[in-house]
């Protein structure tokens, strides 16, 4: 398990605090994008991520998410809801991967049906969880993110 911890109020990925402390000037905050058409879920998932020190933004559907990336923004982590109007999670994930986006994309579904999760994963997700996410799920996602970023 790759350790991640807080240093000077910022979430840091590193093997030892001493090593990282020397490079503290280069540390930046990890950014996440919450994509969901439900404002309640955007608020809750956004808050959960912010609690672990991530800087978060939100998008109401897949198209808004894709537009954010097209505008030049980058995110380390994307929480992508499956069912959304305008552009759903499957289409958005396919588009993003097609654009060459290598961010960690975690799918979030309301139903835990295996077939649906598999179809969603096949579009290029790094993981798929059933909502609502809780602290345990977020920690698990951040552990995976830490491995990916190092």
């Amino acid at each position: 398990m790759v350790p991640w911890f807080y240093l000077a109020g910022k979430m840091v990925i590193g093997s030892s605090k001493k090593v990282v402390a020397d490079q503290i000037e280069e540390v930046r905050r990890i950014c996440a994008l919450v994509v969901d058409d439900d404002p309640l879920v955007r608020r809750i998932h956004g808050m959960l991520l912010a609690r672990y020190g991530l800087e978060t933004e939100a998008a109401e559907n897949g198209k808004e998410a894709v537009d954010l990336f097209l505008s030049g923004k980058t995110f380390d982590l994307v929480l992508m809801d499956m069912e959304m109007p305008v552009m759903d999670g499957l289409q958005a994930t396919q588009r993003l991967r097609g654009m060459g986006v290598s961010s960690m994309i975690v799918g979030v579904t309301a139903r835990g049906l295996e077939a649906e999760k598999e179809a969603f994963m096949a579009t290029g997700l790094d993981a798929c969880w059933v909502k609502p996410l809780n602290a345990e799920a977020i920690i698990s996602v951040l552990d995976e993110l830490a491995k990916k970023l190092l």
Binding site: D38, P39, L40, V41, R43, I44, M47, L48, R51, A110, K131, P132, N134, A135
Partner: protein
Amino acid sequence: SPSSNTLITGLSAWQVNSCVLITSASYKLKEKKSFCTCKEICKKEFDCVVGTEERERERERETADVVKQLQRQFIDFSTSLYREGFVDDQFAQLQKLQDDSNPDFVVEVVSLFFDDSEKLVKNLAVALEQQVVDYKQVDANVHQLKGSSSSIGAKRVKDVCVVFRSFCESENHEGCLRCLQQVSHENSLLKNKLQTLFRLEQQILAAGGTVPVLE
């Protein structure tokens, strides 16, 4: 004119431990004051420093007792919400997310939920009143309600939604109507319960206490 606190004439007094001792029992006061509590030293009705401090301490003890009582009420009420299945662990997660920089997070999220759920219940009533019911539309609304209730840990509401969805699938009109009634009822019940919970929190804070965290 002499203040209501002073003795009128014919008396002498000396100070002992900030209390004024009355050498004579005959005095008059313009207005009656409450009894000084340092009864061993002072006599009768006037404010002395020691008495005032004693009354302050008494007030603090009473406030602390009030806070303790409110905190006990809060713990008992919260525990009952979980025990009776009104809320589940997801609600506890939301409470843990609230902190000094986001002191109204739970109230905010709960308000968002009830705005949404009340609208969905209205939509469901309209949809089920139609001559030809569009069960896909009904199901879509129930699905959304199930999602929201799940997000805030509204267990009873969510459980009704699960049954509701199976009636949508089998296009059972009677079953759907029963579920609509149940979901509306559970929604109202939960709203009242959470309003009581938030009121208790406000009372504790107003009395200068801190809201207990349930383990």
